[in-house]
């Protein structure tokens, strides 16, 4: 049975998370604060953690950092709006995705499923299916209906960096560090330019992308037909 750890201080929010996740067949462990959350993460070994950023004892980001020291379990953050900065910090600390309060159940379950699927997937031999487009990242090949689409080496690397976290958020800094190197993390415009190029090549309507999705103020998310 899949276990989900919920670290959230508001009992009413815990209650509805418990009942919703429960009806979906998940076992739910609840922690009312970060200290308890750190212990429960160790003893219950959950498959996924949902962590509120504003916890009474210490910051949710610190808890994420602690969990990341020993576990790759997917972590989904609950945040309020206007918290882009702490959201970005949470990603740097190791979070995989976020949901903004207030949220509907549909959104919550979608995020949880993507994160769980991602954790179960083996990283090797990545093939992406974006509608009619098929991209073999390891072979650096991309094509639509058999016709080759030319992608530059950097475009492949960018796509690869996003694909590593398929369906989940990757921050600008993470992308810059991975594609251009740690000395380039301030150059957000690099990502903008290449993302536009990629969208022009891969999206049917580049203005309204279906696969290369913008998370404003935070980063990007690659969706594929698998996630």
């Amino acid at each position: 049975m899949t276990t989900i750890l919920v670290v959230e201080d508001e009992p009413e929010i815990r209650r509805f998370l418990r009942s919703t996740l429960g009806t979906e067949g998940f076992r739910v462990v609840e922690s009312p604060n970060a200290r308890r959350g750190a212990i429960d993460a160790g003893t219950h070994r959950p498959d996924l953690a949902i962590v509120d950023l504003a916890l009474p004892d210490y910051d949710g980001r610190e808890l994420i950092r602690q969990i990341r020291e020993w576990s790759p379990m997917p972590i989904v953050v609950l945040s309020a709006r206007h918290q882009e900065a702490s959201k970005i910090d949470a990603f740097e600390a190791g979070a995989d995705d976020y949901i903004t309060k207030p949220f509907g159940v549909g959104e919550l379950l979608a995020r949880v499923r993507v994160a769980l699927r991602h954790a179960a997937r083996s990283p090797a031999g990545q093939v992406l299916n974006l509608g009619k487009i098929r991209i073999e990242l390891d072979k650096r090949r991309a094509g639509r209906d058999g016709a080759e689409i030319h992608l530059t080496p950097i475009e492949f690397r960018l796509l690869g960096a996003l694909a590593k976290h398929l369906g989940m958020v990757v921050t600008h800094r993470q992308l810059l560090a991975e594609v251009w190197g740690p000395s380039h993390v301030g150059r957000t415009h690099y990502v903008r330019i290449y993302m536009k190029q990629l969208r022009d090549k891969l999206e049917e309507d580049p203005v309204r992308p279906r696969y290369l999705v913008t998370e404003t103020g935070v980063g990007y998310r690659l969706l594929s037909d698998e996630a």
Binding site: H82, T188, V207, R208, G217
Partner: protein, 351 residues
């Protein structure tokens, strides 16, 4: 600093005038010219520059005009009185002016406080009105589910739950708007500027408002080669979202909403054009005021904060927000963003 420059400039000008007058006028009249300089500087600037002007004037007057010329010694004791009067006038006037200035500042502050108070009460009145309806629905629908749930048909239960969901979303949005406006007004917002593309921001907004815009035909016209802008993307997304929501709310479903961006005179102008009934005369400016609501707006309308928020955000970025009547009906809501020197671009050897 500017005041002291004035002090020196004014004294120099008087000295030039005095030298020109010397052959034909009495020394007393030249002293008057210096006195004029003292008064003018005292009127325009604070006490320091006024005193400096007095001292410089006395020194220049003494050195250049009072016999023996070319020295600071004074033959006739009466000129000491002239010096004393110049200094005294400088002090008295600057003091008077400082007092008046302080009074004026206090007055402005009082008026500002009154204005803030007025806005606060208008905000409260508006919010409580806009919260009451959804709260009544929430209370009614949820109590009905909690207490009578088992007697309702599944379809009825579903409908009640759905309205709880919809109303709470609306309330959340209202709350966000109010918080945003407050943050903008209190200056609590520090822009997190970074290079961004308007096309990308537009894409994110269209995705976020997909349901809201579902009843309208949305056309996007973005030139391919728009420059990047250095903006706080989260805020600009909000500004654009507010314009699009506004268009969706005030125009009949099925009508066209056009989102465009274009370069114009060194600025990037983003427009949302609708083909609705247009604005009543004179509303072109008023629509951006807080709590301004469209005429036809009933309970389903907004709080009247959307456009005010848009304008505040755009101004923070050094741009403008305005509305225009379109020929043939409809309204364009536009905002501009300054374009800065473009950043250095990555280079990649294309294989």
């Amino acid at each position: 600093m500017k005041g002291y420059a004035w002090a020196i400039g004014a004294t120099a000008a008087c000295t030039a005038a005095g030298l020109a007058m010397r052959s034909r006028f009495d020394l007393v009249n030249i002293a008057m010219v210096y006195l004029l300089a003292v008064v003018i500087v005292a009127l325009r600037h604070s006490r320091g520059p006024a005193i400096l002007t007095s001292i410089l004037s006395v020194a220049a007057f003494d050195f250049l005009f009072v016999p023996p010329r070319g020295t600071f010694t004074v033959d006739d004791v009466q000129y000491l009185l002239t010096f004393a009067i110049m200094l005294a006038v400088g002090l008295i006037i600057s003091r008077l002016i400082d007092g008046l200035r302080n009074q004026a500042t206090a007055q402005v502050k009082l008026e500002l406080e009154a204005e803030t108070e007025r806005i606060r009460s208008a905000l409260l009145a508006s919010i409580s009105h806009d919260l009451r309806t959804p709260l009544a629905v929430l209370c009614g629908a949820s109590s009905s589910l909690a207490e009578r749930g088992e007697r309702l048909s599944p379809a009825e239960r579903q409908a009640l739950a759905k309205s709880v969901y919809d109303q709470s979303r609306d309330m959340s949005e209202l709350l966000n708007k109010v918080l945003e406006m407050t943050r903008l007004e209190t200056g609590a917002i520090v822009l997190k500027r970074d290079w961004d593309s308007v096309g990308e921001i537009a894409g994110a907004v269209l995705e976020r408002l997909r349901e809201r815009l579902a009843d309208h035909r949305v056309v996007v016209e973005l030139p391919h080669d728009l420059p990047l802008v250095r903006v706080d993307a989260v805020l600009i997304e909000q500004a654009l979202a507010n314009l699009l929501e506004n268009a969706a709310r005030h125009t009949p479903s099925g009508t066209l909403v056009r989102l465009r961006a274009a370069l114009s005179g060194g600025e990037l102008v983003v427009s949302v054009e609708d083909f609705g009934p247009g604005l009543p005369d004179g509303d072109v400016e008023r629509v951006f005021a807080k709590f301004h609501r469209g005429m036809a707006e009933g309970a389903g309308g907004g709080v009247g904060l959307g456009l005010a928020i848009c304008r505040a955000i755009v101004r923070l970025h050094g741009g403008r927000a305005w509305a225009e009547q379109l020929p043939g009906g409809g309204t364009a809501f536009r905002f501009s963003l300054p374009i800065e020197a473009q950043p250095e671009m990555p280079t990649e050897a294309v294989a």
